[in-house]
Symmetry: C2
Subunit: 478 residues, 2 copies
């Protein structure tokens, strides 16, 4: 439980890749220009087509989301997901498969309900935010148009009341509307407590209009007494706003949830051994856990399918790349990037062995952009990779992207990141809702993702020279 306040401000700020772009760029250990050989380029033409024609990424995603379903970190299904990943890596023929423990406080959800009371009595659909305490509160609802308005509420002004932040996030291909939206979730509950509120509710951070609340982790600042905190579905937030426009509204919010001890899960890792420099590797990955409401298809079963499949497509080639391909299925991303930071701590001494790192954790939309945090001596190689990605409809986009959430830790320690930017236009229709299920994934788009990861990983692993990964010394403070 101690970990949570320390990690979450970073976690939430960085949970969309673009926000973390400024963490890019390690120090540059080499000045010899990195090259991609013609033989490497020749190898990926067939790899790209084979991956596009394959249903493997879909099959893996289907297996995880169907056989395990929701896999909340610390739940019984978390353990089954770890066993699933270990067995899947083995079944897919990875050369090495292992796990590394990840310990974190366990949060559990048992149920939740809410209702408008009085002459307009009716139920409202909401979900507790991860990290919320349980409890039942009844009180008058006070609406704030945005987080700043709630943060401006004087101390004590909301005594006995339920604070309601009615901020509507905006739709964008790059998910840029998620930053301001998720800040309501991360900072709103503490602001409500400071103003004396008995409870906190918010319009979901989402772009849909279904009765599907979007959950997600929140935190309470040190020294504050947490209050029940939850997100209303978008239509329910609309409904509450309409009722409030008519006059005062009293509500009951009943959450049965809370922190419950510690749990140890596992980062699950599979490696395809490189032909000539097996101790160095390209790391690709995704997170294995999901929120409990859906089956974690776009967040992040798709990423697991994409990255496992990409490595398998590479292993199937006659000509293996020089370096290894390491695929990591991270534990507990959702509650604070906990698996990612555990990986970074454990592998702090191996930073230079990470040729480059990339995580797929932004759904299953087609990849449209590519960039890396590599220094000048690897920019020609980056351009060459972009050239091999172009037939997939992918553009090189300098200045965009950043490490995926679980790679923020190792990137801060000096590993160079790559970004394969997915179209997230529809991502926040589904993100953290019951609707995050397999049927929302386009199999062709998923194959395009796997092809892009395969091409990128192969070329980076087979490059003559590095992409600048080197230990930062000293590592910058979190």
């Amino acid at each position: 439980m101690r970990l949570v306040p320390m990690l979450l401000s970073a976690a939430i700020a960085a949970s969309f890749p673009a926000v973390a772009a400024e963490t890019a760029g390690a120090s540059t250990p080499a000045t010899v220009e990195t090259r991609i050989a013609d033989a490497s380029m020749a190898a990926v033409a067939g790899l790209r087509e084979a991956a596009l024609a394959s249903s493997l990424a879909w099959d893996i995603t289907e297996s995880l989301t169907t056989e395990i379903g929701p896999r909340l970190a610390g739940s019984e299904a978390d353990a089954r997901a770890v066993e699933w990943a270990r067995a899947k890596f083995t079944e897919l023929g990875f050369d090495r498969v292992w796990t590394e423990p990840v310990t974190f406080p366990k949060w559990v959800r048992r149920g939740e309900s809410a209702a408008v009371l009085g002459p307009n009595a009716q139920p409202l659909a909401l979900s507790a935010l991860g990290g919320s305490p349980g409890g039942t509160v009844e009180g008058e609802v006070v609406r704030f148009a945005d987080l700043a308005a709630l943060e401006a509420a004087p101390a004590g002004s909301l005594a006995g009341k339920i604070a309601f932040v009615d901020y509507r996030m905006e739709r964008a291909r790059d998910g840029s509307g998620y930053g301001p939206g998720s800040r309501v979730r991360s900072r709103g509950p503490s602001a409500a407590v400071r103003a004396g509120a008995a409870g906190f509710i918010m319009r979901s951070v989402g772009t849909d209009s279904h009765r599907m609340p979007h959950t997600g982790i929140t935190r309470f600042d040190a020294g504050l007494d947490p209050v029940p905190s939850a997100a209303l579905s978008v239509p329910d937030a609309d409904q509450l706003a309409r009722l409030l426009a008519r006059g005062p509204v009293r509500m009951r919010v009943a959450l049965d949830c809370g922190w419950d001890g510690e749990y140890t899960s596992q980062n699950v890792i599979g490696e395809i051994t490189g032909a000539s420099r097996p101790d160095e590797f390209v790391l690709i990955g995704a997170h294995l856990d999901s929120w409990d409401l859906g089956t974690g298809a776009v967040d992040d079963g798709a990423g697991v399918g994409i990255t496992m499949a990409a490595a398998v497509h590479i292993a199937a080639l006659e000509r293996r790349p020089a370096r290894s391909i390491r695929v990591v299925a991270f534990a507990n991303e959702e509650q604070g990037l906990i698996g990612g930071f555990a990986y970074a701590d454990r592998h702090a001494g191996d930073v230079a062995r990470h040729q480059i790192v990339a995580e797929s954790d932004f759904g299953a939309g087609r990849i449209y952009g590519f960039n890396t945090g590599a220094p000048a001596h690897a920019k020609a190689a980056e351009a060459k990779i972009a050239e091999a990605l172009a037939p997939l409809g992918i553009e090189r986009l300098p200045g965009e992207g950043g490490p995926g959430p679980d790679l923020i830790g190792i990137a801060r320690k000096g590993a160079t990141w790559a970004w394969l930017g997915q179209d997230g236009t529809d991502y926040f229709d589904l993100h953290h809702t019951p609707d995050d299920t397999l049927d929302k994934i386009d199999p062709d788009a998923l194959a395009q993702n796997a092809a892009a990861y395969a091409v990128f990983a192969y070329l980076a692993a087979d490059a003559e020279g590095d992409f600048g990964s080197a230990p930062t010394d000293p590592a910058p403070a979190l």
Copy 2:
């Protein structure tokens, strides 16, 4: 409770208008050709434009769905909805406002849950069917591709098991996929009992792919011992089908619901008095009750808004039509057209005073088609009405349509029906789900509906001559 078995087979067969088309056409009492005067046609040009420019239908629908919200027949909200309708008619300036009692067995839902058990343990989203008993059943799931397959299961073959009908309804503008879909809901539970099953589940009758189960009434044939019966959301039915493709699946279905005594609600009626034949009237209407999961916006708050607004637009004209406009907000359509049959019983002696009758109960999509069940002497008048509807994008479609569900009773007693056919392409994305909320309604489409009802009702009420309503003698048996 006695009413239910008697009414439901009719109710479910007729719950989509097209299915009931064969009930059309009363006997023909007059041979003088019915005419629409030029002065009537002149009056509706301005009426049509005024209605199109008005937000009144939206405002009424917003008021009902916001202030009352879900209004399950027999619930506390049913009584509030009746008071809302009475007050709304009065506030809108109707000349006469009254209620007529409607008594029915009360069904209550308190909660429900379901889960796959064993190595693929996970929750599944479902809703009890209206009319289901409560109870918790655990057993192996046996899948049937459609109703016929379940009906062919030998007696006793499903002992201790849960029958699952995995039939997928088809999308169509006229909702024609609902017939075979709703038959699974009406007949599946009895077929499951006959085969010895301990419970019944089905793929929702719906065209969406959201985690939103579609509820709806079911029935058990006389002499059968009812079992818990529920509908899975479409993605959950997909998930269950995928799990079953892997091997046997055990499930737990826990429903807390059931019949609980009797309740008396009200049909709420408002009338705009006609200028010269006030005792005759055009009846337009919709149903006031809704299922409990959503706020009953497209089913059928929109119909209430459309028909109330149409009458108000007519009342605002300087030149009132000859006959009155009667607007009926029917009680308890959802559980067996109970308000509609109560109206028919009470007004059996007034059939000839019903100039023509039309119900809006197929959502809020634009009206594309028009037809009536009028005999030959009124076909020229029908064509004239169609001419006035044409600027709204409405086509005369002979051979299509039928009375709305609540008008089946009075149509069988001899009242002539009119059909203003709405585009239902998206209707079964929302129908009977939590997602049936105000945000799904297009205000412009709603205004087009109100304009069409106003034009139709005005011209029919102002016609020189009748549309053939006359008592059937004897009334055909239900």
